[in-house]
Symmetry: C2
């Protein structure tokens, strides 16, 4: 393999470990944009891999890491509690030129462990795109377009790995941002993990009797609560300290609402709602500006 190939965003052979929503979408997007000649999917269930192959998501499905030897780039799309072991298995089965990344929603623990073991081969990623509907059946080639792709080097990561992964996500249509893994986890606790907990907690309140009276506000506020509990339990527990801190902040804010409702302080109640509205506008300006018209 030439060094030119290593700095280009394209890969002759891309391997996806875990061909679900994200893995399947990476495969479709890379193929659609002509970035890869061949996509290998690695999974545990041969029947599922064959379905993914027959849908044109991957070219070949394998269940054995030893068959990944050709891959120039391997993206590990496993649940966060399996990423470290899967990355190590990929590293053991592939030549040292093969670059390995992941798409986990938590980065601190994963990147710290792998930084010491695979400093020159692994770099963490987190593409901010997804859906509460998992599985390659819901994969889309356009999933990443206009969205943010986070790349999380550690102090040990060589600059050319940062450059390669950054270009890869950019080639899929993403705007990329660099973040230290621990910083990523602290911020994502606020932007993603605690919103998930809040959505689940609000959804859990819905009695059978109340269900017919829930409408579009309830639908949107609780949408992410439809996500897979197993995947999300792993994410939340891998980021437990930051999630606990953000959850404490949320509960303080809810306590303030409770207090002003008890006091009947209408001006203060408006003020609390205004804070939410203003921060929501900051979000819209950032997200809307980045992604154009938002889609669901």
């Amino acid at each position: 393999m030439s060094s030119e190939k290593h700095t280009a965003a394209s890969a002759e052979t891309l391997a996806i470990v875990g061909v679900g929503l994200i893995g399947g979408s990476v495969a479709l997007a890379a193929r659609k944009r002509g970035m890869v000649r061949r996509v290998i999917g690695l999974g545990r269930n041969p029947a599922r891999l064959e379905q993914a192959r027959s849908r044109g998501i991957i070219d070949e499905g394998v269940t054995d890491y030893a068959l990944l030897g050709d891959a120039d780039l391997v993206i590990v799309c496993s649940p966060v509690d399996r990423i470290v072991q899967d990355v190590l298995a990929v590293a053991a089965a592939t030549p040292k030129e093969t670059l390995i990344s992941d798409v986990g929603s938590v980065k601190g623990a994963i990147c710290e462990q792998l930084a010491t073991q695979l400093p020159a081969r692994f770099i963490g990623s987190h593409p901010l795109a997804g859906s509460e509907k998992g599985g390659f059946e819901n994969a889309q080639a356009e999933l990443f377009e206009g969205r943010v792709g986070i790349v999380t080097p550690t102090a040990e990561t060589p600059p050319h790995l940062v450059e390669r992964m950054t270009r890869f996500w950019q080639s899929l249509g993403m705007r990329t941002l660099l973040q230290a893994p621990q910083e990523h986890d602290r911020v994502l606790a606020i932007t993603s993990h605690v919103p998930h907990v809040a959505a689940a907690a609000v959804a859990a309140m819905l009695s059978d009797e109340a269900a017919p009276f829930a409408s579009s506000g309830f639908r949107d506020t609780t949408r992410i609560a439809a996500g897979d509990p197993e995947l999300w339990a792993a994410i939340l527990s891998q980021n437990a300290p930051a999630v606990q801190r953000a959850l404490a902040t949320l509960m303080q804010q809810l306590d303030r609402f409770s207090d002003v409702l008890a006091n009947g302080d209408l001006a203060q109640l408006q003020q609390l709602l205004l804070e939410g509205q203003m921060r929501r506008e900051v979000f819209e300006a950032t997200f809307g500006g980045a992604a154009g018209k938002s889609t669901s």
Copy 2:
């Protein structure tokens, strides 16, 4: 006026007090479905009324209740803290045959006060349709289609009023449900008011530094936080006791998350997320079944 006219869903002349998102959409929907011959809009701002008229939302804009004399049906679409006074002003200005309803998101206080003063002329409604984007500029003739319209009679409400208002909302494409006003407020605290508070509290957590990392999960969970703080402060404060109780339930659920995160109890964490996912599925089955494919 004939008695036939009073029991039909249609009205010769419909008056809307407060021509905003909901009032404008009622006007457009009633007109589109051929239910009315003429729509009068009452508001405080003549320039805004003229804009609504030139957009074909109303036929005539008036600022004086005395000019509502012709209306067969008046729908008061004011903010909840102005509904009682506006309904009383409509009642004073119109003949006793004119039916008056409202679209307020809180019903207990409003319906109790009006039940004693206008038992034979007023009946509360709450069409479960809306948007965080207010104003008649966002009004849509299809806003009510497939959605739930709640009609909230009291013990004093004559059955023919229940029938007329039920048919009116059904003619706009709604499925209607009857609910006692206090029961409405208790249920809506869970399905709408506390989700709004949660959305506002989650949105308020977003620092400038975190904003670029917020994505579609944050967008949906906080969408309703973009709603007008003044309107929502009035809603929450008119339903303060029920909102406080539902908020306490939400905080208990968040405390459970906090505890299992502190204990590192992955199975219990999954269980909590599963509760949210299951209740979300109950919602989807109810809402999706009612409204067909959900739209935003």
